[in-house]
């Protein structure tokens, strides 16, 4: 009998795994359903260019149905509960979908309310609307202090805040206002860049371009009236314009279904990508609790492993793939350089450490 594969989330993780599964499996073997609450697919790396270049947001947002293989059924609705006992997903509309295999690909949720003052005071560029607001504010800003940081860890695309600091420096130089604008970068770590081996390169750019920074600054609260950011470590920094990436949590449906850890991330086996304690539920992409960079690249590599393994199981093939912790990351520092960073976490004992 044809197996029912249900995928919750139509971001890079859900879309790639759905397309791979329909390529590997015939209709008689399985049906593939993607549930997505927006039905729109945002290419998030393009948000940097919406903010600081002339990228039209229309160019980075696509209809999910246009990028899914025609054999995938797309349901535009919000999953409100995952019931692993009854093997079904409940929808906001009241519909229900039962599954033989479930793939959780619900990504990360932005939670600005978790840092007092952040929502009123800070700009960011992690959604199309917010990127456009920041673009507008930056266009009007010609003197003062811009502070850039993150509101919490983990957050997706760890290099993004340092990337926007370098890009902004370049942009202000082109506009010939750089001498009137101070850029101050806040890092939660003891260095600027998350990856230790890349840090000296980024450090050199910061020093050369006069981008100031404070390390070990984990944001605790923002005081919009005094225009100050306070850290968990007890420091205070003033700003004129604040760019702070909001804290992230797992999707609400994960928390409401009791499937998440304290941050709403799904406890996931680092090799098989099965949700811990289940044989028929997988998690991929930003939704997992895996301690690797939350990135589209990781989502892509994970999707391949899960598609292979589910297809093999349905076809009765013994062999299984393991996720090897691979992540690739491109960083654009304005006109300075584009860096490509390839990481392979030694999740399998014989893997090599790159950073």
């Amino acid at each position: 009998m044809s197996k029912k594969i249900v995928i919750v989330g139509g971001g890079p993780a859900g879309t790639i795994v759905a397309n791979l599964l329909t390529k590997k499996l015939k209709k008689e073997e399985a049906s593939v359903t993607v549930i997505d609450k927006t039905g729109r697919h945002v290419y998030e790396p393009g948000l940097l260019y919406v903010t600081l270049s002339d990228q039209d947001p229309k160019g980075i947002v696509k209809d999910e149905k246009d990028i899914l293989n025609k054999k995938v059924r797309l349901i535009v609705d919000e999953a409100t509960k995952i019931d692993t006992k009854r093997k079904m997903v409940e929808m906001k509309s009241g519909n229900r979908f039962d599954y033989d295999y479930l793939i959780i690909a619900t990504g990360a949720r932005l939670c600005p309310e978790e840092v007092p003052g952040l929502k009123e005071a800070a700009y960011h560029f992690y959604t199309v609307d917010e990127a456009l607001k920041l673009k507008d504010a930056l266009e009007k800003f010609d003197k003062g202090k811009i502070v850039i940081g993150v509101g919490g860890v983990p957050y997706k695309c760890p290099p993004a805040p340092a990337e926007i600091a370098c890009f902004l420096d370049y942009k202000l130089r082109k506009r010939k206002t750089r001498d009137k604008v101070e850029i101050h970068y806040l890092s939660p770590l003891p260095r600027i860049f998350p990856i230790e081996s890349v840090d000296p390169i980024v450090n050199k750019i910061f020093e050369k371009e006069g981008i100031k920074y404070t390390t070990f600054f984990n944001v605790e609260s923002v005081d919009p009236k005094r225009k100050e950011v306070h850290s968990l470590e007890g420091e205070t920094i003033g700003y004129d314009l604040l760019i702070l990436i909001p804290p992230h949590r797992g999707s609400k449906v994960i928390e409401d279904s009791g499937l998440g850890d304290r941050g709403g991330w799904v406890p996931t086996d680092r090799y098989t990508l099965k949700v811990k304690g289940y044989d028929d539920v997988y998690a991929i992409g930003d939704a997992t609790d895996l301690p690797i960079s939350k990135s589209g690249a990781a989502a892509h590599y994970e999707a391949k492993v899960v598609a292979n393994n589910i297809a093999s199981e349905i076809k009765g093939i013994e062999s299984r793939d393991k996720y090897n912790g691979k992540v690739v990351c491109l960083c654009d520092a304005g006109n300075k350089a584009i860096y490509m960073i390839i990481l392979q976490s030694p999740l399998v004992p014989d893997g090599s450490i790159v950073c």
Binding site: V153, I195, E196, L232, P291, I292, I353
Partner: protein, 80 residues
């Protein structure tokens, strides 16, 4: 130190790279209640330098670093 303290939460951050064990600890400290004890397992030697540095800067207490085969358990208590 041989007697190992009881931890309220243990994070297995072995074999991970960035954001790495320190980021995992910072996240756990934010989520923890005052007084809770958190253990981080790390095979990244940088953690033995970075975690104590951060712990003292943030005003928490480093209870100890316990060497194991190929990794260390670093134990921190949330103080405020």
């Amino acid at each position: 130190m041989s007697e190992e303290p009881k931890v309220d939460r243990l994070i297995d951050a072995r074999n991970t790279f960035c954001p790495g064990p320190l980021m995992e600890l910072i996240r756990a400290i934010k989520e923890a209640k005052v007084g809770e004890v958190i253990g981080v397992l790390s095979s990244d030697t940088g953690s033995k330098r970075d975690i104590p540095l951060w712990t003292s800067k943030a005003g928490h207490k480093l209870i100890g670093i316990y060497e194991k085969a190929g990794y260390a358990e670093i134990v921190v208590q949330k103080i405020k």
